[in-house]
Protein backbone atom coordinates (compact mmCIF):
# COMPACT_ATOMS: atom_id res chain seq x y z
CA UNK A 1 0.00 0.00 0.00
CA UNK A 2 2.81 2.39 0.95
CA UNK A 3 4.61 1.39 -2.20
CA UNK A 4 1.57 2.26 -4.29
CA UNK A 5 1.28 5.75 -2.79
CA UNK A 6 4.98 6.51 -3.05
CA UNK A 7 5.07 5.33 -6.66
CA UNK A 8 1.96 7.32 -7.62
CA UNK A 9 2.98 10.56 -5.90
CA UNK A 10 6.62 10.23 -6.95
CA UNK A 11 5.66 9.63 -10.58
CA UNK A 12 3.27 12.59 -10.50
CA UNK A 13 5.90 14.94 -9.07
CA UNK A 14 8.54 13.81 -11.55
CA UNK A 15 6.07 14.19 -14.42
CA UNK A 16 5.18 17.75 -13.35
CA UNK A 17 8.87 18.73 -12.96
CA UNK A 18 9.78 17.28 -16.37
CA UNK A 19 6.85 19.04 -18.04
CA UNK A 20 7.92 22.34 -16.47
CA UNK A 21 11.46 21.77 -17.72
CA UNK A 22 10.08 21.08 -21.20
CA UNK A 23 8.11 24.31 -21.04
CA UNK A 24 11.22 26.21 -20.00
CA UNK A 25 13.28 24.53 -22.71
CA UNK A 26 10.79 25.55 -25.39
CA UNK A 27 9.53 28.94 -24.21
CA UNK A 28 11.83 29.97 -21.38
CA UNK A 29 14.41 32.80 -21.31
CA UNK A 30 17.79 32.03 -22.87
CA UNK A 31 19.58 32.09 -19.50
CA UNK A 32 17.43 29.38 -17.96
CA UNK A 33 17.59 27.25 -21.12
CA UNK A 34 21.37 27.44 -20.85
CA UNK A 35 21.22 26.10 -17.31
CA UNK A 36 19.06 23.15 -18.35
CA UNK A 37 21.38 22.37 -21.23
CA UNK A 38 24.52 22.38 -19.10
CA UNK A 39 26.56 19.19 -18.82
CA UNK A 40 26.29 19.02 -15.03
CA UNK A 41 22.47 19.28 -15.20
CA UNK A 42 22.31 16.40 -17.66
CA UNK A 43 24.57 14.23 -15.52
CA UNK A 44 22.66 15.07 -12.34
CA UNK A 45 19.12 14.83 -13.72
CA UNK A 46 19.65 12.26 -16.45
CA UNK A 47 22.05 9.81 -14.78
CA UNK A 48 22.49 10.34 -11.05
CA UNK A 49 18.83 10.98 -10.16
CA UNK A 50 17.38 7.90 -11.95
CA UNK A 51 20.18 5.67 -10.62
CA UNK A 52 19.58 6.73 -7.03
CA UNK A 53 15.77 6.63 -7.21
CA UNK A 54 15.49 3.33 -9.08
CA UNK A 55 18.08 1.64 -6.86
CA UNK A 56 16.24 2.76 -3.75
CA UNK A 57 12.92 1.56 -5.18
CA UNK A 58 14.42 -1.82 -6.11
CA UNK A 59 15.79 -2.33 -2.62
CA UNK A 60 12.51 -1.31 -1.06
CA UNK A 61 10.47 -3.49 -3.45
CA UNK A 62 12.61 -6.54 -2.72
CA UNK A 63 12.20 -5.98 1.01
CA UNK A 64 8.42 -5.86 0.58
CA UNK A 65 8.45 -8.95 -1.64
CA UNK A 66 10.32 -10.86 1.05
CA UNK A 67 7.61 -10.00 3.55
CA UNK A 68 4.97 -11.23 1.11
CA UNK A 69 6.62 -14.63 0.77
CA UNK A 70 7.27 -15.25 4.45
CA UNK A 71 4.65 -13.94 6.81
CA UNK A 72 6.62 -14.93 9.91
CA UNK A 73 3.92 -17.30 11.13
CA UNK A 74 4.29 -21.05 10.82
CA UNK A 75 2.11 -22.50 8.05
CA UNK A 76 -0.80 -24.58 9.35
CA UNK A 77 -0.11 -27.32 6.82
CA UNK A 78 2.89 -28.35 4.78
CA UNK A 79 2.21 -30.32 1.64
CA UNK A 80 4.53 -31.73 -0.95
CA UNK A 81 2.85 -32.03 -4.32
CA UNK A 82 4.60 -34.02 -6.98
CA UNK A 83 3.42 -33.54 -10.55
CA UNK A 84 3.60 -36.85 -12.39
CA UNK A 85 2.37 -37.87 -15.82
CA UNK A 86 -0.62 -37.29 -15.43
CA UNK A 87 -1.68 -36.93 -11.85
CA UNK A 88 -0.65 -35.34 -8.55
CA UNK A 89 1.01 -37.21 -5.69
CA UNK A 90 0.11 -35.32 -2.52
CA UNK A 91 2.15 -35.87 0.64
CA UNK A 92 1.21 -34.13 3.86
CA UNK A 93 4.28 -33.30 5.96
CA UNK A 94 4.85 -32.56 9.62
CA UNK A 95 6.70 -29.43 10.79
CA UNK A 96 10.04 -31.25 10.32
CA UNK A 97 9.11 -32.02 6.68
CA UNK A 98 8.62 -35.72 7.42
CA UNK A 99 5.76 -37.41 5.57
CA UNK A 100 2.54 -37.99 7.53
CA UNK A 101 0.50 -39.67 4.80
CA UNK A 102 0.18 -39.78 1.03
CA UNK A 103 -2.90 -39.20 -1.07
CA UNK A 104 -3.57 -38.12 -4.64
CA UNK A 105 -5.30 -35.53 -6.78
CA UNK A 106 -7.17 -33.97 -3.88
CA UNK A 107 -5.81 -31.41 -1.44
CA UNK A 108 -7.64 -30.41 1.70
CA UNK A 109 -6.82 -27.09 3.35
CA UNK A 110 -8.11 -25.32 6.46
CA UNK A 111 -9.76 -21.97 5.74
CA UNK A 112 -8.03 -18.89 7.14
CA UNK A 113 -4.60 -20.49 7.57
CA UNK A 114 -1.48 -20.57 5.51
CA UNK A 115 -0.56 -23.68 3.58
CA UNK A 116 3.00 -24.14 2.40
CA UNK A 117 3.49 -26.21 -0.74
CA UNK A 118 6.73 -27.83 -1.83
CA UNK A 119 6.36 -28.50 -5.53
CA UNK A 120 8.42 -31.18 -7.23
CA UNK A 121 8.38 -33.40 -10.30
CA UNK A 122 10.09 -36.71 -11.05
CA UNK A 123 9.50 -36.70 -14.82
CA UNK A 124 8.82 -33.55 -16.86
CA UNK A 125 7.97 -29.94 -16.11
CA UNK A 126 4.45 -29.48 -14.80
CA UNK A 127 2.85 -26.37 -13.36
CA UNK A 128 0.73 -26.31 -10.23
CA UNK A 129 -2.20 -23.95 -10.64
CA UNK A 130 -5.31 -23.52 -8.54
CA UNK A 131 -6.52 -20.18 -9.93
CA UNK A 132 -8.85 -19.35 -7.04
CA UNK A 133 -6.10 -19.81 -4.47
CA UNK A 134 -2.98 -18.41 -6.07
CA UNK A 135 -0.73 -18.04 -9.07
CA UNK A 136 0.96 -20.73 -11.11
CA UNK A 137 4.18 -22.32 -9.91
CA UNK A 138 6.23 -24.62 -12.09
CA UNK A 139 7.23 -28.07 -10.91
CA UNK A 140 10.69 -28.69 -12.26
CA UNK A 141 12.56 -32.01 -12.09
CA UNK A 142 15.48 -31.71 -9.66
CA UNK A 143 14.16 -28.58 -7.97
CA UNK A 144 11.78 -27.84 -5.12
CA UNK A 145 9.68 -24.73 -5.62
CA UNK A 146 7.74 -23.16 -2.79
CA UNK A 147 4.30 -21.65 -2.83
CA UNK A 148 2.37 -20.31 0.15
CA UNK A 149 -1.38 -19.82 -0.15
CA UNK A 150 -3.93 -18.65 2.35
CA UNK A 151 -7.43 -19.75 1.35
CA UNK A 152 -10.12 -17.77 3.10
CA UNK A 153 -13.46 -19.25 2.04
CA UNK A 154 -14.50 -22.89 2.33
CA UNK A 155 -15.33 -24.47 -1.01
CA UNK A 156 -14.09 -26.82 -3.68
CA UNK A 157 -11.62 -25.23 -6.06
CA UNK A 158 -10.37 -26.79 -9.25
CA UNK A 159 -6.71 -26.88 -10.21
CA UNK A 160 -5.07 -27.76 -13.48
CA UNK A 161 -1.59 -28.53 -14.75
CA UNK A 162 -0.57 -25.34 -16.54
CA UNK A 163 2.53 -26.53 -18.37
CA UNK A 164 2.17 -28.90 -21.31
CA UNK A 165 3.45 -32.22 -19.98
CA UNK A 166 2.44 -34.85 -22.51
CA UNK A 167 -0.54 -36.53 -24.11
CA UNK A 168 -2.89 -36.32 -21.14
CA UNK A 169 -1.87 -32.88 -19.91
CA UNK A 170 -5.45 -31.70 -20.39
CA UNK A 171 -6.73 -34.42 -18.06
CA UNK A 172 -4.26 -33.57 -15.29
CA UNK A 173 -6.47 -31.73 -12.86
CA UNK A 174 -6.90 -31.70 -9.13
CA UNK A 175 -9.29 -30.28 -6.61
CA UNK A 176 -8.57 -28.29 -3.47
CA UNK A 177 -11.17 -28.66 -0.74
CA UNK A 178 -11.03 -25.71 1.63
CA UNK A 179 -12.92 -26.48 4.82
CA UNK A 180 -13.38 -25.24 8.37
CA UNK A 181 -10.52 -26.05 10.76
CA UNK A 182 -12.71 -28.67 12.49
CA UNK A 183 -13.62 -30.43 9.25
CA UNK A 184 -10.02 -30.28 8.17
CA UNK A 185 -8.83 -31.84 11.44
CA UNK A 186 -11.38 -34.64 11.05
CA UNK A 187 -10.24 -35.25 7.47
CA UNK A 188 -6.58 -35.35 8.54
CA UNK A 189 -7.36 -37.79 11.35
CA UNK A 190 -9.14 -40.11 8.92
CA UNK A 191 -6.40 -39.92 6.31
CA UNK A 192 -3.78 -40.86 8.90
CA UNK A 193 -5.61 -44.10 9.69
CA UNK A 194 -4.85 -47.29 7.77
CA UNK A 195 -7.47 -48.56 5.32
CA UNK A 196 -10.64 -50.05 6.75
CA UNK A 197 -11.17 -53.78 6.39
CA UNK A 198 -13.82 -55.10 3.98
CA UNK A 199 -17.26 -55.45 5.57
CA UNK A 200 -19.26 -57.43 3.01
CA UNK A 201 -18.56 -60.63 1.10
CA UNK A 202 -18.42 -58.61 -2.13
CA UNK A 203 -15.81 -56.24 -0.70
CA UNK A 204 -13.90 -59.24 0.62
CA UNK A 205 -13.82 -60.69 -2.91
CA UNK A 206 -12.72 -57.30 -4.24
CA UNK A 207 -9.83 -57.18 -1.80
CA UNK A 208 -8.76 -60.68 -2.83
CA UNK A 209 -8.91 -59.69 -6.51
CA UNK A 210 -6.88 -56.56 -5.80
CA UNK A 211 -4.08 -58.86 -4.67
CA UNK A 212 -4.52 -61.47 -7.40
CA UNK A 213 -4.41 -58.91 -10.19
CA UNK A 214 -1.25 -57.32 -8.92
CA UNK A 215 -2.80 -53.92 -8.20
CA UNK A 216 -0.56 -53.65 -5.16
CA UNK A 217 2.55 -53.53 -7.34
CA UNK A 218 1.61 -49.97 -8.28
CA UNK A 219 -0.76 -48.87 -5.53
CA UNK A 220 -0.37 -48.60 -1.78
CA UNK A 221 -3.17 -49.45 0.61
CA UNK A 222 -1.88 -48.72 4.08
CA UNK A 223 -2.69 -51.47 6.54
CA UNK A 224 -2.17 -54.15 3.89
CA UNK A 225 0.89 -55.71 2.28
CA UNK A 226 0.42 -53.55 -0.83
CA UNK A 227 2.92 -50.74 -1.03
CA UNK A 228 3.42 -49.89 -4.72
CA UNK A 229 4.29 -46.29 -5.47
CA UNK A 230 3.85 -46.04 -9.25
CA UNK A 231 0.26 -44.88 -8.98
CA UNK A 232 -1.80 -43.04 -6.38
CA UNK A 233 -2.10 -44.27 -2.79
CA UNK A 234 -5.56 -45.86 -2.54
CA UNK A 235 -5.81 -46.14 1.25
CA UNK A 236 -8.78 -43.76 1.32
CA UNK A 237 -9.66 -43.63 -2.37
CA UNK A 238 -13.36 -43.98 -1.57
CA UNK A 239 -13.25 -40.69 0.33
CA UNK A 240 -12.09 -38.75 -2.71
CA UNK A 241 -14.47 -36.77 -4.83
CA UNK A 242 -12.91 -37.57 -8.19
CA UNK A 243 -11.02 -40.21 -10.16
CA UNK A 244 -8.32 -40.09 -12.83
CA UNK A 245 -6.88 -36.74 -11.63
CA UNK A 246 -10.20 -34.92 -11.25
CA UNK A 247 -11.39 -36.22 -14.61
CA UNK A 248 -14.48 -38.13 -13.41
CA UNK A 249 -16.65 -38.07 -10.30
CA UNK A 250 -15.91 -40.94 -7.95
CA UNK A 251 -18.56 -43.63 -7.56
CA UNK A 252 -18.80 -47.37 -7.95
CA UNK A 253 -19.67 -47.03 -11.63
CA UNK A 254 -16.79 -44.76 -12.56
CA UNK A 255 -14.39 -46.87 -10.47
CA UNK A 256 -15.43 -49.97 -12.43
CA UNK A 257 -15.23 -48.05 -15.70
CA UNK A 258 -11.77 -46.71 -14.90
CA UNK A 259 -10.41 -50.11 -13.82
CA UNK A 260 -11.64 -51.81 -16.98
CA UNK A 261 -10.87 -49.08 -19.52
CA UNK A 262 -8.21 -46.75 -18.11
CA UNK A 263 -6.33 -46.81 -21.43
CA UNK A 264 -9.44 -45.84 -23.37
CA UNK A 265 -10.33 -43.03 -20.98
CA UNK A 266 -6.80 -41.63 -20.64
CA UNK A 267 -4.59 -43.19 -23.32
CA UNK A 268 -0.93 -43.56 -22.42
CA UNK A 269 -1.33 -43.32 -18.67
CA UNK A 270 0.51 -45.93 -16.62
CA UNK A 271 -2.59 -47.88 -15.59
CA UNK A 272 -3.50 -50.81 -17.85
CA UNK A 273 -7.13 -51.55 -18.72
CA UNK A 274 -8.09 -54.53 -16.59
CA UNK A 275 -10.49 -55.95 -19.14
CA UNK A 276 -9.91 -59.59 -18.29
CA UNK A 277 -12.11 -59.51 -15.19
CA UNK A 278 -15.64 -60.91 -15.20
CA UNK A 279 -18.53 -58.58 -14.48
CA UNK A 280 -18.89 -59.93 -10.97
CA UNK A 281 -15.18 -59.48 -10.31
CA UNK A 282 -15.12 -55.96 -11.68
CA UNK A 283 -18.04 -54.95 -9.48
CA UNK A 284 -16.44 -56.56 -6.43
CA UNK A 285 -13.20 -54.65 -7.00
CA UNK A 286 -15.11 -51.39 -7.40
CA UNK A 287 -17.16 -52.13 -4.28
CA UNK A 288 -13.97 -52.76 -2.27
CA UNK A 289 -12.32 -49.54 -3.42
CA UNK A 290 -15.49 -47.50 -2.96
CA UNK A 291 -15.64 -48.64 0.66
CA UNK A 292 -12.11 -47.36 1.37
CA UNK A 293 -13.50 -44.14 2.83
Amino acid sequence: MDLTWVMTLGAAIILIVVMMLVLVAVRGPAGLRGVIASRSMIIAGGVAFPVVVLTALLAWGLAIARDIRVSGQEPAVRIEVSGEQWWWRVTYLDSAQRPLFVTGNEIHLPAGSEAAFSLVSPDVIHSFWIPSLGGKMDMIPGRTNSLVVRPERPGVYRGQCAEFCGAQHALMSLIAVVETPDDFAAWMANQMRPARAPETAEQELGMQLFGENGCGACHTIRGTEWNGTVGPDLTHVGSRKTLGAATFPNNRGTLAGWISSAQHLKPGNKMPSFDRLTGVELRALAAYLEALK
Binding site: P249, G257, S260, T278, G279, R283
Partner: protein, 123 residues
Protein backbone atom coordinates in the same frame (compact mmCIF):
# COMPACT_ATOMS: atom_id res chain seq x y z
CA UNK B 1 -62.79 -50.12 -27.67
CA UNK B 2 -65.33 -47.37 -26.93
CA UNK B 3 -66.29 -44.91 -29.66
CA UNK B 4 -64.64 -42.11 -27.64
CA UNK B 5 -61.29 -43.82 -28.07
CA UNK B 6 -61.77 -44.68 -31.70
CA UNK B 7 -61.73 -41.12 -32.94
CA UNK B 8 -58.26 -40.18 -31.70
CA UNK B 9 -56.99 -43.57 -32.79
CA UNK B 10 -58.47 -43.05 -36.24
CA UNK B 11 -57.07 -39.53 -36.47
CA UNK B 12 -53.61 -40.56 -35.41
CA UNK B 13 -53.50 -43.35 -37.97
CA UNK B 14 -55.02 -41.12 -40.61
CA UNK B 15 -52.53 -38.30 -40.12
CA UNK B 16 -49.66 -40.54 -39.23
CA UNK B 17 -48.74 -38.43 -36.24
CA UNK B 18 -48.61 -41.20 -33.70
CA UNK B 19 -47.26 -43.80 -35.99
CA UNK B 20 -46.31 -46.91 -34.08
CA UNK B 21 -42.55 -46.97 -33.90
CA UNK B 22 -40.44 -49.55 -32.19
CA UNK B 23 -40.20 -48.58 -28.59
CA UNK B 24 -42.39 -45.54 -28.91
CA UNK B 25 -45.57 -45.03 -26.83
CA UNK B 26 -45.20 -48.02 -24.56
CA UNK B 27 -41.79 -46.80 -23.55
CA UNK B 28 -42.61 -43.24 -22.70
CA UNK B 29 -41.75 -42.60 -19.06
CA UNK B 30 -44.53 -40.22 -18.12
CA UNK B 31 -43.27 -39.51 -14.61
CA UNK B 32 -39.67 -39.03 -15.68
CA UNK B 33 -38.12 -35.71 -16.65
CA UNK B 34 -35.71 -36.30 -19.50
CA UNK B 35 -33.74 -33.10 -18.91
CA UNK B 36 -33.31 -33.94 -15.22
CA UNK B 37 -32.23 -37.39 -16.36
CA UNK B 38 -29.62 -35.85 -18.60
CA UNK B 39 -28.25 -33.89 -15.64
CA UNK B 40 -28.19 -37.05 -13.52
CA UNK B 41 -26.34 -38.93 -16.28
CA UNK B 42 -23.66 -36.23 -16.26
CA UNK B 43 -23.52 -36.20 -12.46
CA UNK B 44 -22.95 -39.95 -12.21
CA UNK B 45 -20.80 -39.96 -15.37
CA UNK B 46 -22.48 -42.87 -17.14
CA UNK B 47 -20.32 -41.79 -20.08
CA UNK B 48 -17.24 -43.38 -18.49
CA UNK B 49 -18.63 -46.71 -19.71
CA UNK B 50 -21.18 -45.81 -22.42
CA UNK B 51 -21.43 -43.75 -25.56
CA UNK B 52 -24.50 -41.59 -24.94
CA UNK B 53 -25.76 -39.16 -27.59
CA UNK B 54 -26.29 -35.66 -26.22
CA UNK B 55 -23.90 -36.06 -23.29
CA UNK B 56 -20.56 -34.28 -23.64
CA UNK B 57 -17.59 -36.62 -23.26
CA UNK B 58 -19.73 -39.75 -23.03
CA UNK B 59 -17.56 -42.02 -25.15
CA UNK B 60 -17.03 -44.99 -22.84
CA UNK B 61 -16.12 -48.38 -24.25
CA UNK B 62 -16.89 -50.62 -21.28
CA UNK B 63 -20.60 -51.17 -21.89
CA UNK B 64 -22.72 -50.89 -25.03
CA UNK B 65 -23.36 -47.64 -26.82
CA UNK B 66 -26.76 -46.21 -25.87
CA UNK B 67 -27.41 -44.76 -29.31
CA UNK B 68 -30.98 -45.52 -30.46
CA UNK B 69 -31.66 -46.97 -27.03
CA UNK B 70 -35.41 -46.43 -27.44
CA UNK B 71 -35.33 -48.94 -30.29
CA UNK B 72 -33.39 -51.55 -28.34
CA UNK B 73 -35.32 -54.78 -27.66
CA UNK B 74 -33.40 -55.88 -24.61
CA UNK B 75 -31.67 -54.19 -21.69
CA UNK B 76 -28.25 -55.64 -21.11
CA UNK B 77 -29.22 -58.44 -23.49
CA UNK B 78 -31.26 -60.12 -20.77
CA UNK B 79 -34.56 -58.37 -20.00
CA UNK B 80 -37.17 -56.71 -22.26
CA UNK B 81 -36.73 -52.97 -22.68
CA UNK B 82 -39.63 -51.61 -20.59
CA UNK B 83 -39.67 -48.41 -18.52
CA UNK B 84 -40.07 -49.99 -15.09
CA UNK B 85 -37.34 -52.52 -15.82
CA UNK B 86 -35.03 -49.84 -17.18
CA UNK B 87 -35.48 -47.60 -14.14
CA UNK B 88 -34.55 -50.52 -11.92
CA UNK B 89 -31.65 -51.48 -14.19
CA UNK B 90 -29.96 -48.07 -14.14
CA UNK B 91 -29.98 -48.06 -10.33
CA UNK B 92 -29.27 -51.67 -9.61
CA UNK B 93 -28.40 -53.76 -12.64
CA UNK B 94 -26.97 -56.70 -10.65
CA UNK B 95 -30.41 -57.27 -9.08
CA UNK B 96 -31.66 -58.15 -12.59
CA UNK B 97 -28.53 -59.67 -14.13
CA UNK B 98 -26.24 -61.10 -11.44
CA UNK B 99 -23.35 -61.51 -13.88
CA UNK B 100 -23.40 -57.99 -15.29
CA UNK B 101 -20.37 -55.73 -15.02
CA UNK B 102 -22.63 -52.72 -14.41
CA UNK B 103 -22.55 -51.81 -10.73
CA UNK B 104 -25.24 -50.39 -8.49
CA UNK B 105 -25.20 -46.64 -8.85
CA UNK B 106 -25.80 -43.86 -6.35
CA UNK B 107 -29.25 -42.88 -7.70
CA UNK B 108 -32.68 -42.64 -6.09
CA UNK B 109 -35.92 -43.86 -7.68
CA UNK B 110 -36.80 -40.49 -9.17
CA UNK B 111 -33.37 -40.02 -10.72
CA UNK B 112 -33.55 -43.51 -12.19
CA UNK B 113 -36.93 -42.69 -13.77
CA UNK B 114 -35.52 -39.42 -15.13
CA UNK B 115 -32.57 -41.25 -16.66
CA UNK B 116 -34.94 -43.81 -18.23
CA UNK B 117 -36.93 -40.90 -19.67
CA UNK B 118 -33.76 -39.48 -21.22
CA UNK B 119 -32.67 -42.83 -22.65
CA UNK B 120 -36.06 -43.19 -24.36
CA UNK B 121 -35.46 -39.90 -26.16
CA UNK B 122 -32.60 -41.68 -27.97
CA UNK B 123 -34.70 -42.88 -30.90
Amino acid sequence: MTPACLLPAFLSVFFGVCQEQPGDPARRVVEGDAMAGRAAIMEVSCGVCHVIPGIAGARGAVGPSLEHFAQRSFIGGVVPNRPAVLARWVRNAPSIAPDTAMPQLPLNDDEALDIAAYLYTLR
